[in-house]
């Protein structure tokens, strides 16, 4: 197969970027989208041009590194599939494919298709954890966790932190990402003691990073490669309101974490 690729090129954070067109030939249907980009890059490097930068590592849909807008869709056309798992058989021979980085205020472009998603880490740093020191954990089976709760916790914990939800949202909202972690920990008895503080801290960090609000477009749920349901956003809002109403901490939260 042969393709025409229109790819966003940008040298660094400060440089202006633009679309550049490439031809890539001898693509095989079984290749993944990233392997197709690898092939393009080999051809570029051997000609002495700089390869198109993009993030990837596991190449099996679990690390969350790959982050491509393919023809305007986060991770491309296939539902619940990351770009690294998307094979070229889903494209038509000769097609023109547009590839862009995640676009959102809090995700500055680092180079070409690579963005800085440190904002998502900072949301977790603000409260996405249970404060338990090493060695101070009780015997694991002392606190039973109903299977139902464990399963819900798992469904949200499955988030790979790729940022597709943010990229897909017209408002650049990180609600689904944040909600997933809040719901995960709120559904477990171990997460209960810090529940209010967590909700407040994480939501405030999310706002401080400049992510937009949710106006119910639900593009995030469509784009999520792990199929995390948008209904968890409502859960998060409930958690936040509950915390705001009940918690003295609401008045006393620390300032958000600053960018390094």
């Amino acid at each position: 197969m042969n393709f025409t690729l229109r790819i966003w090129r940008q040298k660094n954070r400060k440089a202006a970027g633009g679309m550049e067109t490439f031809k890539v030939t001898d693509v095989e249907a079984h290749m993944s989208f990233l392997e197709m980009l690898d092939l393009l890059n080999h051809q570029l490097v051997e000609k002495g041009s700089e390869p198109v930068a993009f993030d990837s590592d596991c190449r099996e849909g679990i690390c969350g590194a790959c982050s491509l807008m393919i023809n305007g869709e986060a991770h491309g056309p296939l539902k619940e599939t990351t770009a690294c798992q998307l094979s070229m058989r889903h494209f038509r021979d000769g097609e023109t494919i547009t590839v862009e980085p995640w676009r959102a205020e809090p995700f500055p472009v680092v180079r070409d298709l690579v963005v800085d998603r440190g904002a998502l880490d900072r949301i977790i740093e603000a409260g996405g954890f249970i404060s338990v020191g090493t060695g101070s954990a009780p015997e694991a089976n002392v606190i039973p966790v109903p299977k139902y709760d464990a399963d819900i916790a798992f469904q949200t914990a499955t988030c790979i932190g790729c940022g597709a939800c943010v990229a897909a949202c017209p408002n650049g909202s990180a609600m689904l990402f944040t909600a997933a972690k809040i719901s995960h920990l709120a559904h477990l008895p171990q997460g209960d003691p810090e529940r209010e503080r967590r909700a407040i801290r994480m939501v405030e960090q999310m706002d401080a990073e400049g992510f937009g609000g949710c106006t119910n477009h639900y593009e995030c749920g469509e784009a999520c490669p792990k199929g995390i349901s948008v209904s968890f956003i409502a859960d998060m809002n409930r958690e936040f309101l509950r915390a705001a109403a009940a918690s003295p901490e609401f008045k006393a939260v620390e300032p958000p974490i600053a960018k390094a």
Binding site: D38, V45, E46, C58, A65, G118, S136, A140, N141
Partner: protein, 637 residues
Amino acid sequence: MALDPRVPDGPLEKKWDKCRNEMKLVGPINKRKHRILVIGTGLAGASAAASLAELGYQVDVFCIQDSARRAHSVAAQGGINAAKNYRADGDSAYRFFYDTLKGGDFRSREANTYRLAEISGNVIDQCVAQGVPFAREYGGQLDGRSFGGVLVSRTFYARGQTGQQLLLGAYSALSRQVGLGAIRMHTRTEMQDLVVVDGRARGVITRHLETGELKRWSGDAVVLATGGYANVYYLSTNGRGGNVTATYRAYKRGAFFANPCYVQFHPTCIPAAGEHQSKLTLMSESLRNDGRVWVPKKKGDTRAPGQIPEDERDYYLERLYPSFGNLSPRDIASRAAKRMCDEGYGVGPGRQGVYLDLADSIKRLGEKVIRERYGNLFEMYEKITGDDPTRVPMRIYPAAHFTMGGLWVDYHLMSNLPGLFVLGEANFSDHGANRLGANALLQGLVDGYFIAPQTISHYVADSKPAPLSADHAAFAAAEQEARDRIGKLIAVNGSKSADVLHRELGQVMWHHCGISRNRGDLEKGLGKIAELRERFWREVRVPGVNEEYNMALERALRVADFMEFADVIVRDAIDREESCGAHLREEYQTPEGEAKRDDEKFCNVAAFEHKGVGVEPVRHIEPLTFETLHLSTRSYK
């Protein structure tokens, strides 16, 4: 040089307690004065960094990905072992220890392996407290299953995403400390060299992957938790970023590399589809519980699997190993598959694959049951191959997966270079010549949460490292060397991308030092590696400059290290004239193709000391003694 493993004396089950009781402590105020550098944020690095910061040390943490959460531990599917004995099925620390030692074919250090089993339960407690959503039974208790030829149910899991969930647990503990200011996290920052001053590890040189900036970091101890080196085979189940750079650089600075030839090949991976394949995807071994492995009886049979009648199929594992059949251990299953393909019975494109057929189980249990068990794997398989495993038998083939070899460490997980601690897959310690399924995740967390924080404290208390400025000449020299190397790479200006040359190296390793080995092929391999290395430095092309996000440079630097390191693996494989665990030397096997160990000559750890690139390294020996268990021969017939 005599290698002192520093194993405490006394009975096996008392050794770790004794060690802990005798270790020195650092007072809370003094801890704050010490800086520890942790390289890697997989299970081992993240857990160690979080625990050290909780103790009060100042910690700097480095990883190459854009977030600590993306370390390759995230990709582990199957599970994590712990001797909890919740089922009262007779499990115990001792039994777990026994299985691990036997699985490793008596090539691991007894005391380390026992400690792994002893601490396993605490790891599960810690993870549950952090909110890791392990599978539960209806009563709310943890669910367990049995895994990889073990007779008890000791594997805990979170669907097929156990590694992800454990890593997110460790990452959350790490993130908490980052938020509290106790950890400085440096993402997209790659270690380029280790700095050794007066024989002690005192710092690292890093390259920032976005800006190319080279930087010096001085610390009181350095922790390497940088994962395994299976990517030396180019195609493996590891992530694209997997590299040997950190451990290899430490080796060049004097740390000994132990048992580099012990590489595990996983039998159930999706075969490579073509030349541009960038990595191989593992299909959980659990499939072998319900799948039957076969090839056509006729060589080069190109009929579709459905067209091949029952009596023209060879269920070779069932035929060769009647008692374990399709559940034979990883190394046996891998070798048998390769042998079938080498002899011309392989199936699929390139004839490098065998069938794993679920049809009988579907007939017996119904498609619904089988889908419930393996649904997510089927989806993954179908995404990659376009085939539905409930209609067409899956094709599988072995792939390089896990490296038991690594930097040599003593019982404290400290290398022969004082101040250098090595954790997780990067060290050599617990798995001997073959790792049992679900033991690697455990090892990473045992090392990081429970061992290293204590042994590092002891080291700090005992050796009282004085503050050291990064202006010291050793730092300047190491930084300059790193800069020169980068300059040299860019200056080659050849015609090939580093990946293309890396793929060639992978081919040499696969054919000359792969699943089964012999002296003739190994020696030829050594020559080919030397040739390829020389070509690499003539032919590689790295466009662009250092001072930018330069993917080509990043990869070329890693490949350059693989080109040198491959040599050490092959030399170890030549020297080890026996078959043990995953290391099969064709000259040392029974007529039925069973591995033959040589306990007289090789009941030991081989630890290599660098003497120059392509130069025979010095082979040091740590003899292995077994106080509790008697050496016995493995048989899965």
